[in-house]
C-alpha cells in the first residue's frame, strides 16, 4: 500500500511538472524540441554515469541539462548555418544523440544500471525500492525513493521559475518580437525554458522513460490549450489533466497488468480525445441552432 502511494506521488509530480513546462512548449510551438530533448537526455545520463561512475542526482541533472541545451543549440545552428528546415535539423540531432545513447548502453550493458527497456518504459513500479538512505546503508534512515526526491526537487525548481518569470515567459510565448520590443531577452528565456525541459525529462526518466515523457509534456498541455481562456487557467488545467491521467492510468494498469507509465500516457491521450470530442459536439450543436448568438 505504501508502495502504491510512493508510485502515485512520483507519477503525480512527474505529470504536473511536465504539464507546466509542456504548456509553454505548446504555446511557443516547440513541442518537437521537447520531443528531441527528451530523447537526447538519455545520452546525457549515460555519459554522466560513465564519466563519474555515480548516479547522484546533481551529476544526472547536470549531464542532462548540458546535453539538452546542446540539442537545442545544435538544432538551431544546423538550421541557420546548414540552411536546413528547422524540424529536419531537430530530427537529425536527436536521432543521433538517442542512437549514441542506446549504443553506449549496449556496449556497457554490465556497467550501466540502465537497459533498453527502461529507456522506453521507465520503471515506475520499482521506484519504491530504490531509496535514498541517510548515513550507513545498513542502519541509516530511509528517506524515501530516489526518483521521488529527484522529481520533487525539479518540480520545485519549475514551480518557482514559473512563479517568478511568469510575465516574461508569457510575453515571450505570446509574441516574441513584441517581447524584444519591450527589451526582454528572448534568447535567454528560450534557453531557460529548454533548461526546464531538460531538468523535467531527466527527473522523469526513472519513472516514465525517455519517450513517454513526451506524452506527458504535450498531451495534457494540449487538452488544456483547447479550453483555457488565460495562461494561468491553462497551467491549472494542464496540471489537472496530468493528475487525472495518473489516476486513471494507474487504475487501468492495475486492471490490465500493463506498464504503469504507458497506461498513464494512454489515459492522457484518452482525456484529450474526450475533450476534442466534447468540443466537436458543441460545435455541431451550435451549427444546428443558427439563431443562438455565438459568443461575440
Amino acid at each position: 500500500m505504501i508502495n502504491d502511494l510512493w508510485i502515485l506521488a512520483t507519477a503525480s509530480l512527474v505529470a504536473v511538472s511536465c504539464a507546466l513546462v509542456g504548456s509553454f512548449l505548446i504555446l511557443r510551438r516547440q513541442s518537437l524540441v521537447g520531443d528531441a530533448i527528451s530523447h537526447s537526455v538519455l545520452l546525457g545520463i549515460v555519459i554522466a554515469f560513465l564519466a563519474t561512475d555515480s548516479r547522484s542526482l546533481p551529476v544526472m541533472l547536470g549531464g542532462a541539462v548540458m546535453i539538452g541545451l546542446l540539442t537545442a543549440w545544435l538544432s538551431d545552428s544546423l538550421h541557420k548555418f546548414g540552411k536546413l528546415q528547422s524540424d529536419a535539423s531537430i530530427g537529425i540531432v536527436f536521432t543521433l544523440f538517442f542512437a549514441l545513447g542506446v549504443i553506449l548502453i549496449s556496449l556497457y550493458a554490465g556497467q550501466v544500471d540502465l537497459d533498453q527497456e527502461c529507456v522506453l518504459y521507465g520503471e515506475i513500479a520499482f521506484v519504491p525500492f530504490d531509496t535514498i538512505v541517510w548515513g550507513n546503508p545498513e542502519t541509516g534512515v530511509d528517506l524515501g525513493p530516489r526518483a521521488l526526491w529527484a522529481i520533487g526537487i525539479v518540480f520545485l525548481i519549475v514551480l518557482i521559475s514559473i512563479l517568478i518569470g511568469f510575465n516574461r515567459l508569457q510575453t515571450v510565448a505570446f509574441h516574441p518580437s513584441l517581447a524584444v520590443s519591450l527589451g526582454i531577452n528572448v534568447v535567454f528565456w528560450h534557453y531557460f525554458l529548454m533548461t526546464l525541459v531538460s531538468l523535467t525529462t531527466v527527473a522523469s526518466f526513472d519513472a516514465v522513460g525517455a519517450i513517454l515523457v513526451v506524452a506527458l509534456l504535450v498531451i495534457p498541455a494540449s487538452s488544456a490549450y483547447l479550453i483555457a481562456k488565460s495562461l494561468k487557467g491553462m497551467l491549472w488545467l494542464a496540471s489537472a489533466y496530468g493528475l487525472a491521467s495518473v489516476m486513471i492510468g494507474y487504475a487501468v494498469s492495475y486492471k490490465l497488468d500493463s506498464s504503469i507509465s504507458a497506461s498513464i500516457a494512454v489515459s492522457a491521450g484518452g482525456l484529450l480525445l474526450a475533450t476534442v470530442l466534447a468540443l466537436e459536439i458543441r460545435k455541431r450543436k451550435r451549427r444546428l441552432q443558427p439563431n443562438r448568438p455565438v459568443g461575440i
Binding site: 517568478i164 518580437s177 491553462m234
Partner: protein
C-alpha cells in the same frame, strides 16, 4: 534639421537589410521630426514592414545604424512602443484583453515585481481611451478584427512611450476603429508624441499623416506631405526597382563580399 537641442526621434543611417540573399532595403537614410504623424508608403514587397522591424531591432541589419533621440535603441527601448501587424499574432493564445494591455507595463517592471495598482490604472485608462474597457475579460480570439487592433493600440498606449511604431494599423479595420485610431493620433500628437505607421492606402495618406517616407527597396523621398506627395515621387515609388542596384547587391550578399571587406 533640429535647431533646438532635442534630437530627432529616429535617425536612420545607411541601413541595409536582406532576406536570405535578396536585398530588401539598400542604403536607406533619413531623419524624422518630433510630434508628427509619419507614414511609410510603398508598393507590396517594398520593405515597409522590414524597415519598421529593422528600426525596432526585430530583424537583423546587415549594415547601418538607427538612433532614437540620438541614442541607441537599448537606451530608449521603453520610450518606443511597437504595434505589430495583426496577422503576426497568435489569436488562439490563451490570454485576455487586460493581460495583453498589461504587457505594455512589464517593460518597466523588474523580474520579481508584479504590476502595481498604478499599472492597472494606466492599463484601464488606455482601454477606456479606445472604448475597449467593456471587453477587458474577453479572450482575444473572441474579438472582431477592429477590436483586436484596438487592444494592441491600448497596449502601446499603456507603455506611455514617446515614439509609436505601428505596422499597418488601418489594415482591415471597421469604420469605428478607424475613427478611434485617428482620434488616438490626435491625442498623442497633442502630447508631442511621434507616430510612425506603415500605411498602404494612398487615398488617405495625405489626410491622416503629416509626413511621408516613400520606400521601394531604397529610399525614394522623405518629407512633409505638401512637398513630397507628388506625382513624380509616386511614379518613382511604384514604378519598379532599379534592377542594376538590386542585382549587384544580391551578388554582393551571395559572395559574402561585405564580410570579405570588413576584414581587410
Amino acid at each position: 534639421m533640429n535647431p533646438d537641442s532635442r534630437k530627432a526621434p529616429i535617425t536612420v543611417n545607411n541601413l541595409n537589410m536582406r532576406y536570405q540573399y535578396k536585398p530588401v532595403l539598400t542604403d536607406v537614410s533619413f531623419e524624422i521630426p518630433e510630434g508628427k504623424t509619419i507614414a511609410i508608403v510603398g508598393p507590396n514587397g517594398a520593405g515597409k514592414s522590414t524597415l519598421l522591424k529593422g528600426i525596432m531591432g526585430l530583424e537583423p541589419l546587415i549594415e547601418g545604424e538607427v538612433k532614437f533621440f540620438g541614442e541607441p535603441l537599448t537606451k530608449k527601448r521603453l520610450a518606443t512602443a511597437y504595434v505589430p501587424q495583426r496577422e503576426e499574432i497568435d489569436w488562439d493564445f490563451p490570454i485576455d484583453v487586460m493581460d495583453v494591455v498589461l504587457m505594455g507595463r512589464h517593460g518597466q517592471l523588474k523580474l520579481w515585481q508584479r504590476p502595481s495598482k498604478l499599472d492597472y490604472e494606466i492599463a484601464e485608462q488606455a482601454l477606456k481611451d479606445l472604448q475597449m474597457w467593456d471587453f477587458k475579460d474577453r479572450q482575444i480570439s473572441q474579438l472582431s478584427g477592429g477590436q483586436q487592433q484596438r487592444v494592441f493600440l491600448a497596449r502601446a498606449l499603456a507603455q506611455q512611450a514617446s515614439l509609436y511604431l505601428m505596422d499597418e494599423p488601418f489594415a482591415g479595420v471597421d469604420v469605428a476603429t478607424e475613427k478611434a485610431i485617428i482620434e488616438l493620433f490626435k491625442n498623442l500628437k497633442a502630447q508631442g508624441k511621434t507616430i510612425v505607421c506603415v500605411h498602404h492606402d494612398l487615398n488617405t495618406v495625405g489626410e491622416y499623416f503629416d509626413w511621408i517616407i516613400f520606400i521601394n527597396a531604397r529610399l525614394v523621398a522623405a518629407g512633409p506631405v505638401e512637398t513630397v506627395l507628388t506625382k513624380e515621387n509616386l511614379n518613382k515609388t511604384y514604378g519598379g526597382r532599379l534592377s542594376l542596384l538590386n542585382d549587384l547587391t544580391e551578388t554582393m550578399y551571395r559572395t559574402r563580399l561585405n564580410q570579405a571587406h570588413e576584414n581587410d
